[in-house]
């Protein structure tokens, strides 16, 4: 019972924080609230037994992302301007999508149901066999590194690619490409197909 109450309280706080993020115009406050939102999400993951996920969310969401966002605000300015167009159409789209999704939840198994299909497929095998096959108490680590190693290799490659892309985008000195942008008239390309369209 107490767990249910904590669950409901944390979820309500998350909703309130998200609405505050949507409504505030000061981007500094928005970034700070998004750190708080991540911390609430991490607490929520502890309640839902996902300790590894909570650990990651607390370190990443409340830590690194907040630092990165503040670094960007220092470069771009921290006031958001009021948009000129009316938000009526986005509101209609969002309400319709949300209603459709809520309608869909009535077909979902109840929260915490041990016999839900998602809990019956491969999870029992991992929980029952992994200790004999891999020998680690932490099933999440066994599945992450061994059973689903391909998946994790892909994810690590995505992180590598993102780091390389950030290097390409903002790694050079500022204004390196200014010369290219200012002289578009110079149409001598060293291509071998002549270059005349």
């Amino acid at each position: 019972m107490i767990i249910t109450l904590i669950d409901i309280a944390l979820l309500t706080f998350m909703g309130a924080t998200a609405i505050a993020i949507l409504r505030l115009r000061s981007l500094f406050a928005v970034v700070m609230l998004s750190g708080i939102y991540s911390l609430l999400a991490a607490s929520m993951f502890v309640v839902l037994d996902a300790v590894d996920v909570a650990f990651t969310e607390a370190a990443v969401g409340a830590g690194i992302s907040t630092v990165l966002m503040i670094a960007v605000l220092a470069l771009t300015g921290e006031r958001e301007r009021t948009p000129s167009h009316t938000p009526l159409l986005p509101m209609v789209v969002v309400v319709l999508t949300g209603a459709a999704l809520i309608y869909a939840t009535f077909d979902m198994p109840a929260f915490g149901d041990a016999n839900a299909p998602v809990n019956l497929h491969v999870a029992p095998r991992y929980l029952n066999e992994s200790f004999a096959e891999v020998g680690l108490p932490n099933v999440v680590t066994s599945v992450l590194a061994s059973y689903r190693g391909y998946d994790t290799l892909g994810e690590v490659t995505v992180i590598f690619t993102a780091a390389v892309a950030v290097m390409l985008l903002i790694g050079g000195r500022k204004g390196d490409d200014a010369g290219i942008k200012k002289e578009p008239a110079d149409d001598t390309e060293p291509d071998d197909d002549g270059g005349t369209a």
Partner: protein, 138 residues
């Protein structure tokens, strides 16, 4: 923030423990919550804290960007290399059971190496990304 004495001393005290904790999370992740992803982020945040408090130029001396960028790739190579080691030892790609004569011990070794690769890439990526954003002049 170099002239804030309290911040400077406290962070100097904290940074070794943050790194120690990251290593604990890295190598104890098999038994408790934790693993390469979390450890990488925590290890990276130790360098980010150093950069925030003492200035970027000092952080670049501690973690030279040339080395850190190579580590981003090295982690992926450690991961894929472990996969190929399984392949050459006669198993499938990313099959760690064949790395040692005892399959469970082989799994232990493989997971340790793979998690180390993950931690290296994540930590190095976070440090690189922070250096790039913080080093960009307005």
């Amino acid at each position: 923030m170099r002239h804030h004495r309290v911040l400077r001393i406290i962070s100097k005290l904290l940074i070794p423990f943050i790194m120690l904790f990251a290593l604990y999370v890295q190598f104890h992740g098999d038994f408790g919550p934790g693993g390469g992803f979390q450890a990488g982020v925590i290890f990276g945040s130790a360098f980010i804290l150093y950069g925030l408090i003492f200035g970027l130029e000092y952080a670049r001396m501690v973690a030279p960007p040339a080395i850190v960028t190579r580590l981003v790739a090295a982690g992926v190579l450690i991961f894929a290399g472990t996969g190929y080691a399984g392949l050459f030892a006669g198993g499938n790609f990313l099959d760690y059971g064949v790395l040692k004569s005892d399959p469970v011990a082989g799994q232990h070794l493989g997971i340790l190496l793979v998690e180390f690769g993950v931690g290296t890439t994540v930590a190095a990526s976070m440090i690189t990304i922070f250096f790039l954003f913080a080093g960009r002049d307005r």
